[in-house]
Symmetry: C2
Subunit: 437 residues, 2 copies
């Protein structure tokens, strides 16, 4: 079809299937060919299909094709996606496209651009259904069919006053149920006690509200309670996924990538890993200095040396388990730093149980390595103590950082790793000294 | 109000605010008192408020109060929540309540109960808007207002044939836009090319579809394409969160809790941590046997011993970083095991860069500990090799497990930890032997 430049058939291809499926069929095409198809489809539909292309292809098309035709497509994208994409183009191309956008869309981009990353403002879209409270159900429906092509969602309809201040909300479902009585006013239907987000609120806190109350969307208001936008459920899924991925990465000692693994620049990737690897390396260096203090005993009891890596890694593993459980529980809101005494109790019990379990295996190992019956005791006792310390330090440090308003996932890991490495050595050497004399 | 048993005021309290807010106001009450309030509110509204109570309170109320009154409330809960809650009550109480439910609701519970955990069937609700294709827009609206109180969502309206087989979908938005032409038939509006999930499909794959295509809900069909239920966006957010939490927990060597940290039994928590701690302990034991092989050199070069924990933990940290990045990228669908050669290239470069960086610091440490200029070389060379191995093994093992159809988060961690611990020792000792002779 492309080779024949068959406009009608290409247009039909673009409208027959749902946009997601159409995009899938086009996966085999080059970016130029894909644009060749899209340019024959009307811009609204083309934008829908474009949204399902993968990110690299989106950027290639936006960067490479005729600016005027591209601007038509960009004008049809949802406001939040439009801003995100323009931010990733090179600055010249972005301002070229921006200049070609209709005034309203251009203003919207500039407005959304002005909110700091990580805030509600930065993830909202400004395309939201606004109605007035004196509208009847019939008037509301008429107004909605007029507005609907510019709206991302009409599942909640927000009622505003003359100054755009948020007064209430009517759900799409309520409106459909009320169609039998078309003269009822929206002021009689609307709920006035509703949740909203403020533009500068942290996006994670907004996501938690939407998640906790199973909302489809949440209105975003500025400091004067003026309705400025809406955050929809799909943006919230993205936030939940990103925040949890970031937590997992921080737990492994990586500054969150915030980009796809295969797409992030190697310099940036080196920095995000190298920084923490260096911090962890420097804290682990203290183990060498700690061991140096005990060099006398090490020369005397050679067998002790053989078990050092085992002891150190067991302490690290138990601390890591406790820290991860507490950090995931904090992230999902199951736990707050106020629960620290309950956590302390649980981890005390866990430390005794898990430490006790590993001590038994430790005693068997001790039997193979230690020269006397007395010396065997060193291994299980050290393991019991180090596992208990791991459970307690691993669980308490994240709670402490959360209490101090710091991100527990980011701060806890190097501290816990450092403490466990050094304390592993210190406990081991002191237990050995106490028992072996 | 409770003390006065003031029915009117209690009823008013239950309806004045939105259900979420009402539930918040009731947080200070005991479960008995909370039920005292709810029992004065009409069951549909009471069920909405009840859904916002925390989980412990829900179970307490369902377990403790008059069975007949409770059954009325349970009948009003969404089908998926109802099944989940009944499963957590003790068996006698659950069957007592089940017997008191209206026939339809009872059948639904039995049906949902029959789907295996982790499948689409187990998280769907059966309350879904069904319409026939010969309906006009006007008839559809009438039918919807009739059905609407039993429906969890009316954002998508599914069109079925006489045998309940799924034919197409009309969005609530389309229906509102079409209200101007009330005689159009649904068959002219509906899209027939739509996504659906099958009842026995893995819930993670369903969540990915909904997420990828920004759906509000997805219909669930059985093997005959019969419409059996719907999975809504809020269930999908829950799945995304749970799956990512499980990945984070597996990465830390914990079998996923699948319950709140503060609520899970200590026996179960010990098992889920103890099992992996033991596996990791046993793999780490091999470090002791490996070291034993090199006992001769260790006695000769005492200073080597002091750096063992540093070398081992640096290898572990670099492996952990690479593994976590690959596993989070696999989970979000950015990466597939087919990309292994791109990952290998990247991690080769990262290994050289990060290993090179740490080698410089390693050389400085070597300067403090090693007795000769030649001996200083041992430390940076070991670190370069171990960090390279960490990057490559840490990134390739999860891809290999994913290729074999195993969960990369679950399988990769003990293998990587074991390999890095032992290889750390082996590389260190061999580098030392080669350089020091």
């Amino acid at each position: 079809m492309l080779a024949m430049r068959d406009h009608d058939q290409l247009e039909q291809f673009g409208t027959a299937l749902n946009p997601a499926r159409t995009a899938e069929f086009m996966e085999g095409l080059s970016s130029d060919e894909a644009w060749g198809v899209l340019s024959h489809v009307e811009p609204g539909r083309a934008a829908e299909i474009f949204l399902y292309f993968d990110h690299d292809r989106q950027i290639e098309i936006l960067s490479g094709q005729n600016a005027e035709e591209i601007a038509e497509l960009v004008a049809e994208l949802p406001a939040d996606d439009r801003v995100d994409l323009l931010q990733e183009l090179d600055a010249d191309r972005a301002s070229e496209l921006l200049a070609l956008l209709p005034t309203n869309e251009r203003r919207e981009v500039q407005r959304l651009n002005s909110y700091a990353e990580g805030t509600a403002g930065s993830i909202m879209t400004t395309e939201v259904a606004r109605l007035r409270q004196h509208f009847s159900v019939r008037e509301a429906v008429d107004e909605l069919s007029r507005q609907s092509e510019h709206l991302e969602t009409i599942y909640y309809l927000y009622i505003v006053d003359v100054d755009d201040r948020l007064l209430g909300v009517v759900s799409g479902r309520q409106l459909i149920s009320a169609l039998g009585k078309p003269n009822i006013r929206l002021s009689d239907l609307m709920a006035t006690d509703m949740l909203s987000a403020s533009v500068d609120e942290d996006r994670e806190s907004v996501a938690q509200k939407v998640e906790r109350f199973d909302l489809l969307a949440i209105p975003v208001v500025d400091s004067n309670r003026k309705l400025v936008g809406i955050i929809t459920h799909d943006d919230v899924i993205d936030v939940v996924r990103e925040e949890l991925e970031e937590d997992a990465q921080m737990l492994a000692g990586v500054t969150p990538l915030r980009e796809d693994y295969l797409r992030i620049g190697l310099a940036s990737l080196s920095w995000k890993r190298g920084m923490w690897l260096t911090i962890l390396f420097v804290t682990a260096m203290f183990t060498a200095f700690a061991l140096k203090n005990y060099q006398g005993s090490l020369e005397k009891y050679q067998w002790i040396v053989l078990l050092i890596p085992l002891i150190v890694s067991t302490g690290g593993n138990s601390g890591n388990q406790a820290a991860t459980l507490v950090i995931t529980a904090l992230a999902s809101g199951e736990l707050s730093h106020r629960d620290w005494h309950k956590v302390l109790m649980r981890e005390g019990v866990m430390g005794l149980t898990l430490g006790g379990l590993l001590s038994i295996i430790g005693a068997i190992i001790g039997f193979f390595f230690a020269p006397t019956w007395m010396a065997i005791l060193v291994v299980p006792l050290t393991i019991l103590l180090i596992v208990m310390l791991g459970c307690i330090a691993g669980s308490m440090l994240p709670l402490l950082f959360s209490r101090l308003g710091l991100d527990p996932a980011l701060m806890a890991n190097p501290f816990i790793a450092g403490i466990m490495d050094i304390m592993g050595i210190v406990i081991y050497m002191n237990v050995a000294a106490a028992i072996l004399g």
